[in-house]
Symmetry: C2
Subunit: 222 residues, 2 copies
Amino acid sequence: MRVDIAKGILEKNDGLAAENRRMFAESGVFVVDLMASPGAGKTSTILATIAALRDRYRIAVIEGDIASRVDAEKISAHGIPAVQINTGGACHLESDMIRRAVATLDLVELDLLIIENVGNLVCPTDFDLGENAKVMILSVPEGHDKPYKYPNIFQVAEAVILNKYDTVSFFDFDEAEFREVVGSLNPAAPIFPMAATKGDGVDAWAAWLTDRIEAARAGESA
Amino acid sequence: MRVDIAKGILEKNDGLAAENRRMFAESGVFVVDLMASPGAGKTSTILATIAALRDRYRIAVIEGDIASRVDAEKISAHGIPAVQINTGGACHLESDMIRRAVATLDLVELDLLIIENVGNLVCPTDFDLGENAKVMILSVPEGHDKPYKYPNIFQVAEAVILNKYDTVSFFDFDEAEFREVVGSLNPAAPIFPMAATKGDGVDAWAAWLTDRIEAARAGESA
């Protein structure tokens, strides 16, 4: 259950996020917060990212869900450390949940930590987790009109993955309109068409992420 | 922005919901609260429902979204009264929003009011709007594992529409597992496979809804 919240809750979260961010920087780990609707392909995108970058980087994953451990089990099956957070009812992750989850990981042995937020286009946008970058996924079946309806998430994301791109001809998805609206909300964000389960389009996304990781290492972090 | 909320908020909402429910009953209007992820096909399902039932019932629609009027405009284009609620940031509708929205409608001239909740599998589950029935839509591309991750919404729904069913062979959707898990969470809820944009499977859903409306009229409302 949720409501519009007092400013104090966000301030408390922001303070813990700043602590997380310092901890991540000191450990030399780059952190991505991946946000999307339920079923947009967050876990598949993480698996594709692992396949693309595991030879170069040591990776771990934090999985956020209301309930169940199915996603963490999917990741662990690939030999990647995965921590499951069950939020109970909460529709987003918060910085204190992240701090408790990373306590079970050996951060200095990691290069990249991917956080899968709870499936939701609203709640995760307001909560800084101390990540280096928030990235969002929209899947083609959700429709090209989503940036009109959920503008905030498109604004806070540093990159947008357009997943299930192999279905673009099946659904009535107007990619030109989608790019135009996302571009007006967030001109700097690249859009990466991808079919994560097939590996299509993963290279461009992985190259962008690699650039961001290397830039952070070179002390040029945004 | 959201957080776990005080019991008082829900109690206040429940009180207003009871008032809404009395108002709807006195006006003889049956109210459905339609819940789903972003892009699952709520608006398409409403349009298909309108096409199936507009000759029999006088219908109006309340559209809930964070932002934009695109859904209300789609409904109005079909000659059906539609009221758009923009929640700003809130990830669900509440009873006071519904009360303000219905103030713009002539309830006694209506038989069926369909409320499209904000696209979200979490937040809307806790908020009674005074509706006769909560119904949820899961779309096939979201995946058959969603009942594990979002059990509450499958439990509060009186019926489950499985939309974009025409894509079931395209996606790796295990319908048997889906039915088994939904059945364990909510044994009484029927599951209606549907392809709303094509009109496939709408008849069974429309027949169920008609039965519910007529039962309510006969004073047998659940």
